[in-house]
């Protein structure tokens, strides 16, 4: 029994070192400026219809839901697919921790109840624990993963003339497959007036 207690103590002591060592703050190092990682732009080809409604009091942008709805980011491979890191919250980690604790206690009970904790069993326990300790130390001291490179962004379009600046109502009907922009005559005139004129060919 004393021997068993000794083995258990020998098993637990290095664990405390690991916890203590893993909690030491890293040495201050010059850190490079963080790379901005903007949300990737998602694109989808669609048909655009501009309609003039003389009775419209405000501009309306109608975007069918089929062009908006996506199943948990799984539909397109644009760098926004579901990954393991996504969605994992503290609640999930707590549940995992509780389950892990239950696994260890049940495993301990299983070991003790059937008197499996003989010399060979202890050696296996020690070997597994040593492996876990080495793994923990290695993981705790590993370099932080470098941030993922930002996904390729579409080239910015510069020097666009502003044709319209005002409020717009956005609607998302369930049907349809075209994007519609509904404006009244006044807005249309404003847009047309603001449009830059195409360069005229010089007379010879």
């Amino acid at each position: 029994m004393r021997m068993r207690a000794f083995y258990m103590a020998a098993l637990l002591l290095p664990l405390s070192w690991t916890v203590a060592y893993a909690d030491i703050a890293p040495k201050p190092r010059p850190t490079p400026a963080p790379i901005p990682n903007p949300a990737p732009v998602q694109s989808k080809d669609a048909n655009l219809i501009v309609q003039v409604d003389p009775n419209a009091k405000e501009a309306r942008l109608i975007v069918p839901r089929s062009l908006l709805n996506r199943r948990a980011g799984l539909d397109v491979d644009d760098g926004t697919r579901l990954t393991e890191a996504d969605g994992r919250s503290n609640r999930h980690v707590i549940i995992a921790g509780v389950a892990l604790a239950l696994a260890m206690s049940c495993g301990g009970l299983w070991l003790v109840r059937r008197n499996r904790l003989n010399n060979s069993g202890l050696m296996v326990c020690l070997a597994v624990s040593a492996g876990l300790i080495v793994g923990t130390v290695a993981l705790a001291n590993a370099r932080a993963p470098s941030p993922a490179p930002p996904p390729p962004q579409p080239a910015p379009v510069a020097n666009l003339a502003k044709l319209f600046d005002g409020k717009i109502r956005v609607e998302t009907p369930a049907d349809g497959d075209s994007i519609r922009l509904v404006v009244n005559q006044e807005m249309l005139d404003k847009i047309v007036k603001g449009a830059p004129t195409a360069p005229q060919p010089k007379p010879e």
């Binding site: 199943r71 491979d77 393991e84 969605g87 549940i95 995992a96 389950a99 239950l102 696994a103 049940c106």
Partner: protein, 337 residues
Amino acid sequence: MSTIITTPPRAAVPIRGFVLAGAMLALAGAAAFLAGWTPILFSIVTVFLFAGPHNWLEARYFLTRLPARWGKLRSFFVFAFAGVFALTGAFALLPWLAGPLQWGPDGWHSAVAGWNTLVIGWIAALVLWRSRQNPRRNWGLALPVAFLLIAVTWMFPYHVGLALVFLHPLMALWLLDRELRRSRPAWRPAYHVCLVALPVLLGLLWWKLFNAPPLPGDTELRDAITRHAGADVLHGISSHLLVATHTFLEMVHYGVWVLAMPLIGLRIAPWKLSNVPMARRSLAWRMAIVALLLFGLSIVIVLWAFFLADYPTTRYVYFTVALLHVLAEVPFLLRAL
């Protein structure tokens, strides 16, 4: 002193299973080659050809393993079948619930991890239940292992789900081993040699394809097949390799249920019911089993028709409902152990 040397019974064993071993090796080799060469096409063709029939033959095999009267096993089988249907239903409901409940990544993580937890709990309960039935087994380790898996699933739910996708084909190999032990013990050594070939073939596939360019996901179907093989979970691994591995294992699984099990486990034409214990209970039971098998056959034919009409949708629906047979293998495997 006698000088007669008798051949030990085990010496003749591999030769008796030679045909089976040769056929299985040839099938596995061809499957590995085709899965590596043209994984998407191979996946489409094998699912079209064998998805329905292998489920029907699996159900037919399970009927031979179900006792005529459940007796003390009634609670075990009722719990097992209730779990199979409830878990499959819950799995099919997940996408329907996602919209109204507005699940984001966090919601999906919880839902998938929760479903995985239910599956692990159900399996652990069956394992502990089975260990208390005759012949009794010392499977007390199941509980800590189950909790460990639950811990893993709450951290990596999609990886655990993917493990089920890849490990399920191997469960058929385990069931076949138990069936061989029961009905053709002389063939087991040859079969075990075949099993050694499996990691060799997988190793060859991974060696050839570890840096293969990813498969184009230019259509909905291609995208669905690569996603099913884990391309959106295992980042950094060639989708070609993932699809090839999955398709190869699926083909091995189909080979077991369509070829090996009818040959070894049924040993009579599948439409003959002399080896179905429940069919011997009464005429009514016999008629019910005939009706069940005919219904299954009609589903196989309808599945083929739907595959021809709209392959991508049918494939999606099939792989949702196919969870039924994945889970159904668990209680039967446990009873066979």
